[in-house]
Symmetry: C2
Subunit: 146 residues, 2 copies
DNA sequence: TTTTGTGCAAAGAGTTTGCAGGTTG
DNA sequence: CAACCTGCAAACTCTTTGCACAAAA
């Protein structure tokens, strides 16, 4: 999506174009993924006066408009990323904390069977799946990265 | 697991048996599932002086010992339940907030394919899957239950 | 110039922690 | 009686909100 595109997208919904909103969108695209705090940091590196609460409000707005989305990796802050980024599922290892991205194709059987059985349309990108990675599956030392 | 069983289980790990711990375990079993706050409420109905922080500490301990587990249904407080309860996956509808429990068997293909492809051992019960239920899949009114 | 957006400060949910005193084994 | 556990209060993380002022259209 070009700059002109999302700017008119915003305006067509009655939202205004502000430097803060441009900075937040830029930061999300620059970082690829990040927590509200990460994003605020990136924004403030360019414009220190931008407030954290503005970042929260702006992320909500950008999400509503469809420019960004977020994923819950665990109990902490969510991760925001550009909405057009190729969809993938996050696997979080509860032992070592590693985050593995697998293509959505790997879980399409799951999506299909839940749709067939329950009519439920799963969004597998919204919440990570937890478990133990190949390296940790055998060992027993938990580190509680949940 | 009988009362004597888990009591010796605790002791064999060097933990002590206290009335608070018995009350918390009882409450989890009685409720079937509940947030730390729910559980504290149930405990305090019987023994008002038990502190919330004790409930948190006790839930951690009971989880470490393997008597309870928890599931993240969304961005709020986690849900604790007895560890021996039959495993199921939670589907949370982002439109109406409904929570649907499906047997783990419905997702065993997923578990198998991730194990084969990545060696990753998924625990599908630890985090809910989000999406839209049969009733809401067509409509567009979000209620943001995340 | 009207409406929307922003910064700031305060409050809110959920959870953790330090510590002094109480309890278990 | 020694190690462990609890209650209490304070602190902490993440997020939301009310309000007066500033900026966009």
């Amino acid at each position: 999506m070009t700059a002109a595109d999302w700017q008119s997208e915003l305006r067509s919904r009655g939202y205004r174009l502000t430097p803060q909103r441009q900075l937040v969108l830029d930061a999300v695209r620059e970082l690829g993924h990040g927590t509200p705090d990460d994003i605020a940091g990136a924004v403030q590196a360019k414009s220190p006066s931008v407030n954290l609460s503005t970042v929260y409000r702006t992320l909500d707005l950008l999400e509503e408009v469809g420019l960004v989305t977020h994923t819950h990796l665990g109990h902490g802050a969510p991760t925001y990323h550009p909405a057009d980024e190729s969809d993938h599922v996050h696997l979080v290892c509860t032992a070592c904390g590693d985050i593995i991205a697998v293509p959505e194709a790997a879980v399409e059987q799951l999506v299909g069977s839940l749709r067939d059985l329950n009519g439920f349309e799963v969004d597998v990108t919204h919440m990570a799946m937890h478990g133990r990675c190949a390296g940790c599956a055998g060992s027993t030392d938990e580190q509680e990265h949940q």
